[in-house]
Amino acid sequence: MSWLIWRTYRAQAVATGAVLAAFAALVIITGMQMASQWHSAVVTCTASHSCGNLSSTLFLGSRTVGFLVIMTLGVPAVLGMLCGAPLVAQEVEAGTSQFAWTQSITRRRWLAVKAGWLLLAAVCVCGVVSGLVTWWSGPNNALQANAFAPGRFDIMGIVPVGYAVFAMALGIAAGALLRRTLPAVGLTLAGFIAVRFVVFGWVRPHLMSAVTTYFPLNVGFTPAGSFWQLAAGYVGADGQPITIPQSTNGQVLGTAAGGIPVSSLPAPCQALAGSGNTPFTRTSEHAVLACAQAHHIRAFLTYQPAGRYWAFQGIETGIFVLLAAALLAVAFAAVTRRDA
């Protein structure tokens, strides 16, 4: 069985290996460049004590390779569509399942060996890609401290392998249920995007309860390391958040005093700010902020601490692997119980 799998997928394996090698070469060459650029930057900035604003002045690497790296988000989906979906569907469509399932091998064993090898291959391919991307992003992660951020979290560490296993299982199940390759490809793509979207947007932020820290206005608070900011804002005396137009990385929109829009302050403090058209002077800003603090207005930051990064990676990978197991069970049932 394993020999037949190798013989059937020989050409595909070679092609994938070639593409992977090209990607690896590109990543390794640019990555080494970036790493040395980063090292010399750190050396020089440490010597001149100007490391503080390095993240806004230094741009590492080429934008093109950066795009390619972001696009590795799609690798699990492609694996699921091109390797998982045809696994059962193509055999049934071509009729060769009538050959394979009348040899002296049970359908369960046939599927187990075939799916097993291909899942392993997908894990290897995705693992190599993710490993390369994680290594390549090292300097950028150190510079921007954004490894935990949505989008970057998804392409590094071990979660890509979880996604790949899930996508493959989804493809296999889709192919086993629909028995036609193209609809299975479409279903795999749609299902993968939908599940990833839901987990990304609604499940991941709540995997562990976020930490909320309150701090005085105009002091600023930045947690250590690559934390993941979920929300930021201001609370009034009653502890309720003051609704202001805010964004997801803490930048506030609108005329601000120390970060808080004047229009959100209590009336007495707004009066101190004077009429709208003159920009703040330093003294008037101090007065406004002192007034706000007197009214018990504080700032808050809700975030997931950097220390939880690997816990989140592990939990999310676990979720996708569990989903994959369920889908594989469906696939086995579909193959062994239905008519050929």
Binding site: W3, R7, Q103
Partner: protein
């Protein structure tokens, strides 16, 4: 003698279509059984049920002493050749033979290779590039190399030219002879002339039901064609089973299954050959609209 195949009331229903209903047949071991029937009669369905590729919706089926099931032992005992001769298009015949060697406990690749070489079929060309006849031979060689005890062939010669058909059937009979009584074959087709030469048992399906099942020689001996001018055939019908009757203005032609001797001198009794037998049974079950077609060519 043991039976290779025994079914009782076997039926298979898809969502709206009944492909096979109440099918009860017996095929003894080491027979070459012809599975005959018009298109859509349920031949492929029956073969798939016997091979375990499909599950029945009613009735029992017993193949080689057990129910068709997911079991390497059972699977090793049957050989199935599907109608569309599925081979991996990009794999060569040699690759298929290697795959079979890996997938089966008893595998005789050498005789398969010898056979294919004798037929001048290249072993190193992708199966998708071979002609229909060559693919059929490769598929048959693969099925025989398994050394199965029961061979289920679904219209294997349908797409072959007369010479290729001859070769195929010749290979088949040689294989049966070589097996020394170990091999039972069920071969479906609607080319009756071919089957007559090769087979000794027949199962006739029409309208998803079994019309005939038994030893060919015995059946041929039991059936006669009666031609007579008599219009009123009721006496005959009481004495024997009239399978199919064609009545024209001048005479009646009846295919009769005898239940004792024919005593009425008004009828001319003649032997029946397999083709007439099969056509008679198929005509009996054909739709009324087509009934007149069965009389085409006969005396008007």
């Amino acid at each position: 003698m043991n039976t290779a195949i025994e079914t009782q009331g076997l039926s298979k229903r898809y969502r709206r279509v009944t492909a096979l209903s109440d099918c009860s047949i017996t095929v003894p071991e080491s027979r070459i059984c012809a599975l005959i029937g018009p298109n859509g009669a349920g031949k492929t369905t029956l073969l798939r049920l016997l091979a375990g590729l499909a599950r029945p919706t009613g009735g029992d089926v017993c193949v080689l002493g057990g129910t068709p099931r997911q079991d390497p032992e059972f699977l090793a005992g049957i050989g199935y050749l599907a109608q569309d001769i599925p081979l991996y298009r990009r794999l060569t015949a040699e690759d298929h033979l290697k795959a079979g060697a890996h997938l089966n406990p008893r595998w005789d690749g050498e005789s398969a290779r010898t056979r294919l070489r004798e037929l001048a079929i290249p072993l190193d060309r992708a199966a998708g590039t071979l002609s229909g006849g060559q693919r059929a031979q490769v598929a048959l060689a693969l099925t025989l190399a398994k050394r199965p005890r029961l061979l289920l062939l679904d219209e294997p010669v349908a797409a072959l030219d007369p010479l290729a058909r001859r070769h195929f059937l010749g290979t088949l009979t040689a294989a049966v002879a070589e097996s020394g009584g170990e091999l039972t074959v069920v071969l479906s087709s609607h080319l009756i002339a071919d089957l007559e030469r090769v087979c000794d048992h027949i199962v006739l399906l029409a309208e998803s039901r079994v019309q005939l099942c038994g030893d060919i020689d015995t059946l041929l001996a039991e059936h006669k064609v009666l031609v007579g001018a008599r219009k009123d055939t009721s006496a005959l019908e009481r004495a024997h089973t009239v399978v199919h009757a064609v009545r024209t203005a001048r005479q009646s032609t009846l295919l009769v299954r005898l239940d004792g001797p024919v005593l009425d001198p008004a009828y001319e009794v003649s032997d029946v050959n397999l083709e007439e037998l099969v056509l008679g049974y198929m005509g009996a079950s054909a739709a009324p609209a087509l009934a007149h077609l069965t009389a085409v060519g006969e005396d008007q």
